[in-house]
Subunit: 99 residues, 5 copies
């Protein structure tokens, strides 16, 4: 999985029928300090993530292993909202403190 | 999924039989400002996207989860035409306004 | 899919049994001007592509969706020989003219 | 598979239901000298790996081929803890000696 | 598939049960001149490849399409030992001559 911050949304009216009802989130990939690293991806949401939240997303066929995305042409899904992470014993991010 | 702009087409007469009838679109990958970022991919079309439109495409096995691409040697599919997107509360693109 | 030019072949006698009879082509990835971009991949052939031809290839599990590659440890397949492509209304390559 | 060092953990309360009970490890990708190469990924754990250990992880659909990750939206899994590796006949890392 | 040279091995005692008996090879990715290009991957072996040999490996779900790797958390497999390759009509490598 990859670590990212939800920064926006994409709206589409004309899309593959099976994608109806899915929300498309813009995810900015972040480094272990929580800063944008320049890359981004558009992912479906399976957990109700909001703008500004740090999340984990899964790519490829694994992105279809949720009720929301099963058998759909979807290659990235937010599957967890991050509470905190630590590296080498140091807390790098804690939800509500660093936001 | 990734954000791209449809910029062209590829024509092929001699191809895997199952690819008959599929349209191959050239997609230029764009950044969140809607500008080309240098990369491109060739994708099948499942939504009737036209030159100049901004789209989302799915890659890998997820590209086969449409009626048009099921069980075909196709690893990228346009599955949504983009109406608009916004980042950090700012509208970055709106169809018909920025085209 | 990705655009490439067939530039060579790889010969292997000792290989996974299921790969017997498959031809391995060296594909040089090209940009939209048809020039080598530095990357290359080795792909199985499902369409009878020859040295110098421009082709499309599919990667990942999609590379197994041909009769020639089904259920084989093959992650790239040439699935179309390109006749021509155009970008923003300009013909960039036409078979027989630019070869 | 890729070689990495376990450097941290990610905690998530709100996640896809099927991810309950999985531990998320932060893996720093390393070069053949065992030094961080700058990249990282978040992986589920199937072998009880601890902070500081060198591991192998598998990505994509292969990450779901463990009891812990089967049918889950998980695209990276630690599937081996490394004892040692050697390159061109030289021992590059041996557990307990270089840690 | 990608072209690589076998340069080493990784040893792991504690691993996913289904990986028992698989040999992990360190593969250095090479360019079309047969020189290391800086990247490497760890792959399972399905053909008995030895140190110094040039090989082809398959990635992703295709890496599980061998008897040795079927249904295992393995995302790269050596599926062919290379005898020779040529580019634009020039022999670039021939086993036993250039080794």
């Amino acid at each position: 999985m990859n670590l990212a911050r939800v920064s926006g949304t994409v709206v589409s009216t004309r899309k593959e029928q099976s994608m109806e009802g899915l929300k498309f989130l813009i995810l900015q990939q972040v480094n272990l300090e929580g800063k944008d690293d320049g890359g981004f991806v558009v992912a479906a949401d399976s957990v109700g993530a909001g703008i500004g939240e740090y999340v984990l997303y899964a790519s490829g066929s694994s992105a279809r292993q949720t009720l929301a995305t099963d058998k759909r042409p979807c290659d990235a899904v937010v599957m967890a909202i991050v509470d905190n992470w630590e590296v080498n014993g140091n807390l790098k991010y804690k939800k509500g403190v660093d936001d």
